[in-house]
Amino acid sequence: MLELVRDTYRYRELIWALALKELKIRYKRSVLGFLWALLNPMLLMLVLTLVFSTVMPIKIPQGHYAIFLLSVLLPYTFFSQSLTYAVESIVGNGDLIKKVSVAKLVFPVAAVVSNMINFLLSLIPLALITIAMGHPFHWTWIYLPVPLLALTIFTLGATFLFAVANVYYRDVAHILQILLQILFYVTPIIYSLDQFPRRYQWIFKLNPLIYFMNGFRLSVYYGLLPAAPSIIASFVCAFIALVFGFWIFRKHQEEFVFFV
């Protein structure tokens, strides 16, 4: 664990350069360039808002569905995009790994960092929409770094795990896409957990993502802070994921060069 922190710090410049490269390449030669990073979740938000506030309305307090949705959709996009990029990060950099002696952890970490930049930028339109819709701009926004930290730790753990698995079985990248789609619907993103009777809610609480997302939605939409058990649960899940993911990654990293 200490090794992870030490190496991340040691290779911070490389990780940062790789993350910027990732972003640069993703939006190169597109007219709107970096704006796509912000437009994508916004367009998805528009469609979902249209469906769930007019076609089949979902009852939520205060009625600002767009903000209700975005407060969780944005962190979920950070999570799913990080995984989507990181799962290919070892295999995709195979040429490099075979020719340069480099710490392997920089690749999945850089994928998470580049998506983190995306996420932080997407908070700007969220803030603008909040103001435009006349939704109160809660002081609890300053609490956001806490769920973000937990989610980042969790995401890192998951990316390590999937990046390793994909080295050995390339199916993993495809399986991941299906998993992310399922997760999108079983996590309260487009709906609220309160819409379900209390005695069924425990089923949703088996999904670790709910604890991170809870923090985002409460602070951005409701202006509340999550209860202590929920915060603790989020960090426990996060650290379990990271310890397990990095353990697997460390165990196999010397072997990557033979399989990529």
């Binding site: 490389l14 350069a17 390449i25 040429d95 340069v100 002696s101 480099v102 199916d171 399986i175």
Partner: protein, 266 residues
């Protein structure tokens, strides 16, 4: 020579690769294999029990036929492969030129690539920015430095890559056949750079198929054959033995396919 002068020591290094004949590349195949026979594989020893050491300031040549384990050995020294058994001790920074432009990304500009490459080799951003102008100067790419490298000619690309790898001032330089590429003037320049390196007392480990490069430049030469170190001697001696190894093949009618490659490399 004192032991403290040894900068690279290779001790009983064996590098084994598992060659899996029917590697289940996907879960579907894995399931299919699960119910039938186990996966077949064989172990292939690319490098067998090789030991040698390189002293500071030496230029060591490594020669051998295709598949004799030269590149694998270099990759073990560069830290890309962890040896199956044995140990490699390296004192000082290594710049491995296993392939020119390995860390280059075609969409990034020359300047961005210089930084990324340097960081990949373990140098800091500050160190790279300091050397940037010298790198650009040696590579002779002028205004193209801010153009994505995919628009470079292959010559420009190689000059930039060589320039980055050597301008970072490593203690030990590892070169794998790369000097076979590029035009005459570029090759001249590369060798001039290598001589500068030697004058500065740096160490070079050098793989090539061009025997004249070995005899002209190396202090000592190692001959590999089927992964084993079979001779370590002065270049002239090694070239003689190596030529003897290769030449009988030239006459063997059943190995004609090899003749063309080996012959042209000589």
């Amino acid at each position: 020579m004192l032991d403290s002068n040894i900068v690279v020591s290779v001790e009983n290094v064996t590098q084994r690769f598992r060659v899996i004949h029917e590697r289940p590349d996907s879960v579907r195949e894995l399931f299919a294999k699960f119910f039938r026979k186990p996966v077949r594989y064989s172990d292939f020893e690319a490098v067998s029990n090789v030991s040698f050491s390189v002293r500071s300031g030496e230029m060591i040549g490594i020669v051998g036929r295709n598949g004799s384990g030269k590149s694998t050995l270099l990759k073990v020294i560069a830290g890309i492969y962890k040896p199956t058994t044995g140990r490699v001790n390296v004192h000082g920074t290594i710049a491995p030129l296993i392939e020119l432009g390995a860390g280059m990304h075609s969409e990034l500009t020359g300047r961005e690539n210089i930084l990324l490459n340097g960081l990949l080799m373990g140098y800091s951003k500050q160190q790279m920015l300091k050397r940037e102008s010298k790198i650009v100067e040696f590579a002779e790419i002028g205004d193209f430095i801010d153009v994505p490298v995919k628009q470079y000619s292959s010559g420009m690309f190689m000059r930039l890559a060589f320039s980055v790898a050597t301008e970072v001032d490593p203690d030990i330089l590892i070169i794998d056949e790369i000097l076979a590429v590029g035009d005459m003037s570029f090759q001249q320049k590369c060798f001039e750079r290598l001589r500068e390196f030697r004058r500065a007392g740096k160490t070079i480990i050098f793989v090539t198929h061009v025997m004249s490069q070995v005899t002209e430049n190396c202090d000592r030469t190692i001959l590999l054959e089927k992964g084993r170190l079979i001779l370590e001697a002065v270049p002239e001696k090694v070239v003689e033995v190596y030529t003897g190894l290769v030449c009988p093949e030239v006459r063997a009618p059943d190995e004609r396919a090899d003749v063309v490659t080996v012959g042209s490399e000589l």
